[in-house]
């Protein structure tokens, strides 16, 4: 059983993403790990390129660039944001919270709620849940949900399973109270028994047990998605897109098979951006909009899953006209 429910009168009214300008293909990895190994990796995992942040650049810089893009559209200003959330596994410091730094850098007023959420692959859907919860409180009308990850700073260059998989990215999303908005349905789960499957000690490198993560994903995630749709009386045919955390192509195919979705309904951004951790769902939404500029309201299911272990699903009507692209930082 999951934590399930419905949020009313809340809407996503703006979204933008940002990636570093430095684009890395698989050529160097092929030299390091072997041509045959990388060909197999590319075929199965599906990552051809990824964006890597320069040494001094942080996740906060990427989220900041996305937030500035969003501000240019007019959907928020320094005086009307009541909460700033920052979802990441790669904050600027152990302390303080990066959300406070971004509140200052973005010039947002001081009478604002600001804090970090320490989640990765499931981070975006949890961020939406947290934002929607805040929007039920008195005095909070707009939430600037920021986040992203620079996992490249946690991976060793000679780690054949992690280094070619991850890419760096940030995102900004504006959630607002919106009377009469189509309800957002949610389901969430957590299981710390699997904490060791994806883990980085303080100051250490990312260690990932691919088998355990994969087992968790194929055994838990499709069931939660199916449960969510069944609870809402909706079939895969009635959903326009299943927007998944971009774990890897093989995982996406397994989830597609287990949930009855055609792969055509599962958009992919990881081929050009890698697994971008907490940014992967907004990256995929903005990327999809960039390829289909006229796209409007669509019924979508989003699912984030991974480090924690933590997983969650949202079923909602999403207005793609609110996506404002991917900025090259």
């Amino acid at each position: 059983m999951a934590i399930k429910g419905t949020v009313e009168n809340v809407a996503i009214v703006g979204m933008a993403c940002a990636v570093p300008a430095d684009c890395r293909d698989n050529v160097d990895f092929a030299k390091r790990f072997g041509q045959e190994q990388m060909a197999k990796f590319e075929k199965m995992v599906g990552v051809r390129e990824r964006r890597i942040a320069a040494n001094g650049d942080t996740t906060a810089d990427l989220a900041h660039a996305a937030a500035v893009r969003l501000k240019e559209t007019g959907c928020w200003n320094e005086q009307d944001v009541d909460a700033v959330l920052f979802v990441t596994q790669t904050p600027n410091h152990v302390l303080p919270s990066t959300a406070c730094e971004l509140q200052m850098r973005l010039g947002i007023k001081r009478d604002v709620v600001a804090y970090d959420i320490n989640l990765g692959c499931s981070g975006f859907v949890y961020g939406v849940l947290s934002s929607a919860s805040l929007l039920q409180m008195q005095g909070i009308h707009k939430v600037l949900l920021l986040g992203g990850d620079t996992i490249s700073k946690l991976t060793a260059e000679d780690d054949a399973s992690s280094a070619p998989l991850f890419g760096d990215a940030g995102f900004a999303t504006l959630l607002s109270r919106s009377d009469g908005a189509v309800p957002i349905h949610y389901s969430f789960m957590s299981d710390g028994a699997g904490a060791g499957a994806i883990l980085a000690e303080h100051g250490g490198r990312l260690a990932m047990d691919g088998m355990d993560v994969f087992n968790f994903t194929i055994n838990e995630v499709p069931d939660l998605i199916k449960e969510q749709m069944s609870q809402c009386g909706i079939s895969a045919d009635q959903v326009d897109y299943l927007v998944l955390h971009q774990a890897n192509r093989f995982v996406l195919k397994q989830i597609a098979m287990a949930t009855g979705f055609d792969m055509k309904k599962i958009p992919v951004s990881m081929d050009r951006f890698g697994n971008t951790s907490s940014a992967s769902i907004p990256m995929t939404l903005c990327d999809l909009k960039d390829s289909n500029p006229d796209m409007g309201m669509k019924k979508i299911v989003m699912s984030g899953f991974g480090v924690g272990l933590s997983w969650g699903t949202l079923l909602m009507d999403f207005d793609f006209s609110k996506c404002n692209g991917i900025v090259m930082e």
Binding site: K40, F41, M44, G210, M211, F214, N215, F250, Q254, M257
Partner: protein
Amino acid sequence: MELNEKIDILADVFDCDAGEIKPEIRLDEIGWDSMTMLSVIAMVKTRFNKKIAGVQIREFKTVQDILNVME
């Protein structure tokens, strides 16, 4: 499921001819890496609705070890 059907499934997973797959063959002779392990985990889950733990699959030495869970 008959043995030859299982061999055909494994030939697909290992991307080789069915003739190369024999129960006594050592897995490291036919390309046993982490990506193939994931393919086997997925195949066993999809076709046989069974879960193979990471620690369990790392102990597999021969094709027979995989055949044993294809029940």
